[in-house]
Symmetry: C2
Subunit: 688 residues, 2 copies
């Protein structure tokens, strides 16, 4: 049973009350969206979506993404009303340290929060990723008689998300792929914080989305519950083969008295007088038992002190049997699924593989023992990627139109297209921002382990998504190549300088800069063994061949590698100098080492494939690796600013200016990243 119009109105008003109360008590938050979209939310959960708090991790649940994450009280209130693991006290503790109700929604399936949102546009692109995942899972597991995966993804966005360019990128991809399982709702209230959207946002959103290949309907009145409900149903049922958008003309601050339609309702508590107005003009009046607005305000002020907001049990009649109906969607699917297990036992086992974590011993062995010929590590990375992709179907991904350069692709697998989602490669086009966030969307269910790839310098376009992958601990692999000034001819716009240091600073992310085949295999292995994202960097240029195919006890080496830095070549006697670097600089330092040894010097060479991990080790380990000799540290990257604190016994050869256009050897020579210049500099440094 669904929810009728008057119940939507009652529950919508209750949601408005809960949201404004939570924000009032926190004295912080954004009431605008929950007030304007309350009825939409109730309609969606009550009448449209197939999902249930009974089984929040149901693999075929419809997803709801609040891309306008600042309206978080909408989703907390909705999820509370619809039985997810929220209590009134959680709502009353909105935005308090360690509460379940953070300022912006934080990814937690159990709570019905499908993804972390806040930075605008991200949630929308996540939703595109989820919709792609649904199609890809359907292509793998649905059969003519069993529609195991047919869920829809609903995403609510405001003016901000709609303005963000990444949303356009993601919407263009969605249009090209014909994602008819994606339904976006645009809360079109024409009011933003600075009250400026009338002058700065005059475009025809409907026309734009139609041009992007979407089916678009409009609801002219945000409180016309019947119309919204019907149009959502029309879109869900539509077989247009297009992604769908419902534009709802809402009023910001709907339900309030003086603040209705005002930008002041966007991002600050509305005050108890306005909440009292809300109570007095809704079913809450009878529940409150109040006789006028003054009484109501008094009551509200008391509730704000105690946190004892009106409970959802007051709305049992309005909710009716909808929670049961929602549960029944899952139960029906479960019956189907149990049949499927028997009839398609092989497919069921394959599905369980998608659902499992960890990696096989076979794959682990292959990665531990990976050896290859000397090459540019972008090619080495591609070789390892093929091994991983062959051994687990979970690996999928794509590039921002740079497969030819970054080589990140699943060889022999198809690209997904509008009519065929059985492939494993995704052509994102030249849309890095959306690529990052769609990759996150693909990682949310943890069925797939996506990789995304571009030149390292263009991490700048996808940084917001890299950050969110790290915050959500998503298994999303970022393969960035052309990792330094050795890019050469393309010049400073294409040569990363600050990016290596900057990427390392991101919490929850590890940046690997492998120096050879062995470290590349290890980097992939560690990514596969660990929860969370990683950046793996590859060079454009070929590295020193002596570093490849090294004879080594691989298990021991992997233990060292996991510590982020280790002695790669030691001197027989006490070292005169310890050379430290990462990636391609190990090649340069290795060559410098030979020059120094020819002059009778004792040299230790330390590889630091992951500086963050190295820093996490005990000072004893770090001191043992670096040793007592002076340290010459070389990286084609910026350590600008930090060097002021570096130990005096460390000489740093880095780059703090932009790169240059020229043959990569000329560029490297210009910046001093060649063995002979390094050897000379090292000798001077150690006082010879």
């Amino acid at each position: 049973m669904n929810i009728n119009e008057s119940s939507v109105k009652n529950l919508g008003d209750y949601l408005r009350y809960l949201s404004t109360m939570g924000i009032q008590r926190a004295n912080s938050g954004h009431p605008g969206l929950p007030l304007g979209c309350a009825d939409i939310g109730i309609s969606l959960y009550g009448n449209i979506m197939k999902a249930t708090a009974f089984k929040p991790d149901w693999i075929n649940r419809d997803r709801f993404i609040l891309s306008a994450g600042h309206g978080s009280m909408l989703v907390y209130s909705l999820n509370y009303i619809f039985g997810y693991d929220f209590k009134v006290s959680d709502l009353a503790n909105f935005r308090q340290l360690k509460s379940k109700t953070a300022g912006h929604p934080e990814y937690e399936h159990e709570l019905g929060i499908e993804t972390t949102t806040g930075p605008l546009g991200q949630g929308f692109a996540n939703a595109v990723g989820i919709a792609i995942e649904a199609k890809m899972m359907a292509a793998r597991f649905n059969t003519p008689d069993f529609e195991l995966f047919n869920y829809n993804t609903y995403v609510l966005m405001g003016d901000g998300c709609t303005m963000e360019g990444m949303t356009n990128e993601a919407a263009s991809i969605a249009g090209s792929l014909g994602l008819d399982n994606l339904i976006a709702i645009y809360d079109d209230n024409n009011v933003t914080i600075d009250e400026s959207s009338n002058e700065t946002f005059t475009e025809n959103v409907k026309g734009r989305y139609e041009a992007l290949g979407w089916e678009v309907l409009e609801s002219p009145v945000g409180t016309d519950i019947k119309d919204i409900n019907n149009k959502l149903k029309t879109l869900v049922a539509s077989k247009s083969g297009k992604p769908k958008l419902l534009i709802v003309k809402t009023k910001i601050g709907e339900g309030l008295d003086k603040l209705k339609g005002s930008h002041s309702a966007h991002g600050a508590p509305v005050g108890t007088k306005e909440i009292a107005f809300l109570v007095e003009n809704s079913k809450l009046k009878s529940i409150a038992g109040s006789t006028d607005q003054v009484d109501a305000q008094d009551l509200i002020e008391k509730q704000l002190v105690t946190g004892d907001f009106f409970n959802v049990s007051n709305f049992s009649n309005d909710l009716g049997s909808v929670l049961e109906t929602r549960k029944s969607y899952y139960k029906e699917w479960e019956v189907l699924f149990n049949q499927y297990k028997t009839i398609y036992a092989d497919k069921y086992l394959e599905l369980m593989e998608y659902k499992s974590t960890g990696l096989s011993d076979e794959l682990r062995d292959l990665l531990i023992n990976f050896s290859s010929k000397a090459d540019a590590t972008r090619n080495t990375s591609a070789e390892v990627l093929q091994i991983v992709a062959q051994k687990t179907n979970k690996i999928i991904g794509g590039c921002a139109d740079l497969v030819a350069s970054t080589k990140a692709t699943v060889k022999g697998a198809k690209f997904i297209t509008k009519n065929d989602f059985s492939g494993r490669n995704i052509a994102f086009g030249i849309r890095e921002a959306a690529m990052g966030a769609i990759g996150n969307g693909l990682a949310l269910s943890r069925d797939f382990i996506p990789f995304t790839s571009t030149f390292f310098t263009f991490i700048d376009y996808m940084k917001p998504a890299v950050r969110l992958a790290s915050l959500m601990k998503l298994n999303h692999l970022f393969v960035f190549t052309h990792d330094s000034i050795y890019v050469g001819e393309d010049g400073p716009t294409h040569e990363p300088i600050e990016h290596l240091g900057a990427t390392r600073l991101i919490p929850g992310l590890y940046t690997y800069r492998p120096a050879n085949d062995m470290e590349m295999g290890f980097a992939y292995l560690e990514f596969m063994e660990t929860e969370g994202p990683a950046v793996i960097l590859g060079t454009r240029q070929v590295l020193n061949s002596n570093l490849f195919n090294l004879n080594a006890n691989r298990e021991d080496m992997y233990k060292s590698f996991k510590k982020g830095g280790y002695v790669m070549f030691d001197s027989n006697d006490k070292a005169d100098v310890t050379l430290v670097g990462s990636g391609s600089e190990i090649s340069t330092l290795y060559e410098a080492k030979l020059l120094l040894e020819a002059k009778g010097k004792k040299v230790r060479l330390v590889s630091v494939p992951c500086l963050e991990k190295f820093e996490e080790q005990s000072s004893e380990y770090i001191n043992n690796v670096l040793g007592d000799a002076p340290v010459y540290f070389m990286e084609t990257a910026s350590h600008r600013g930090n060097k002021v604190f570096y130990d005096k016994k460390i000489f740093v050869r880095d780059i703090t200016t932009f790169g240059l256009s020229g043959n990569y050897k000329d560029v490297a020579t210009h910046f001093g990243f060649v063995a002979d210049a390094a050897a000379k500099e090292i000798l001077e440094f150690i006082g010879e």
Copy 2:
């Protein structure tokens, strides 16, 4: 006199030859765009644009931006043909170290390169900024009888730029502002590196731009010179009040034999056989005097060795008097301008102020001596901004819909609108990526000094533009507020952690994190006195009042400030510990200092408003400032990874995890950024 169709064809083919030769000799580069757009380029320069190599910095010149910067040989060849300071030898040294012809175009007015492009989408958004600047200058200086500023901005973009989301943001702004002085040309060849655009880029670009408020025409054949020319003229003449787009269906590799239409022509040399084909099928055949393709190939191979490409003098007849015509545009304007000087002497003087650099003694005094009440430094920043804006009209700018929060606005000035560009504020909407790049566009002519502003965490959305501002040394001020975990309730998505360290790493950029009113005044002063961009950070929260309105010799203090770090409070006797930090941490450390002093400790407090500058000082200065005592360094920012190299006598209190949602005081307490916890930690560190 303009250039007739057959001459466009001849010069177009010559441009194709020059471009493919330069790329062949460099063995690196992207011939696809110059081949496909050669005729468009010649038409534009020869028949449409009013600009001249005679006066490349003419303030009313039409601008040409190659947003698809990888096609750089197009602009080098064009500018060579049209008399800018390029020689054949420059084209032959394409992509060689320190040549004029870098891999991607690098900003240099003298060479007719209006902006640095390469990262896709940036040039397009720069062009929007330039078009806004033209309108703003016109609003300030044009009179009914003198159209001093009426230049057009032409921007050439490919599939990549068109896919990038930031282009949509910028195009939406352009539409809202009715920038009818902006003419974009879309090189629509449906071929990208990965050959994938047919599947991943199916949108209706014309429909999208029309929805964004643009006037759009199409040229169905990229070699139909007459049609392209006519449509460009139609667009230029149109009084639609809209920005304009010409979509030209080109063939990648136009002019070649086997590679015509192939994605292989996009980004690699085409080979001498193809160039020979080009020569044999163009006017170059007679110039070469070759009788067949084998001869031509032989000749080309010789030219590639010597770099002695065919000279433009062979095309004097085709160029005719066009260079004179182009010069005459300037000359006519110059006559006008000389009259204007006399008739509108005041306005002329005002214009000269826009054209001047440096700042007045009065403004310098005001900034040196700026004092204010204790406050959140976002407010302090706004106060200083008002002083600067009052004293120089060059200051203009805006926010990504966060004026209410970042406070970065010129008070009392209007927002520019479609019908009135006399204002000084720009409402960018929630479009950070475009804001950054439009700001760069506004800074290119150096008439204006733009500021752009958002929350610090959202620098992530505009990082590519921040980088390019730094590369081009643009006077673009980035005002970022809400600079740390003290944001509080909004939680981890809105709390910068890695951003401070990451911003510092960018070459050519200084990041200021002022601790009080004095440092804020100094930061603005130093930005105004220095060429290049700066980031100025502001706090959301109020800082310690004892740090404001300090009694100090301001000239001395400014000298110290300019060294990036200085002793703010010294102990009378030899210090037991030196406390070091920046921004809001100076407040915390100041309070910790009082607690430590109450326990009889001698404490030095060092403020480091600009760590990069501090690092640039002599080791003697740095050692003097830090002193001999152990150093306790506190920043609500990540130093992750780097700390492995930090001096053992330095204790670092930073944050290497994500922030949390909660009241800012609770969050700060959780992370140990409060005076009492710090004091305790400090005592432990110094061994008490």
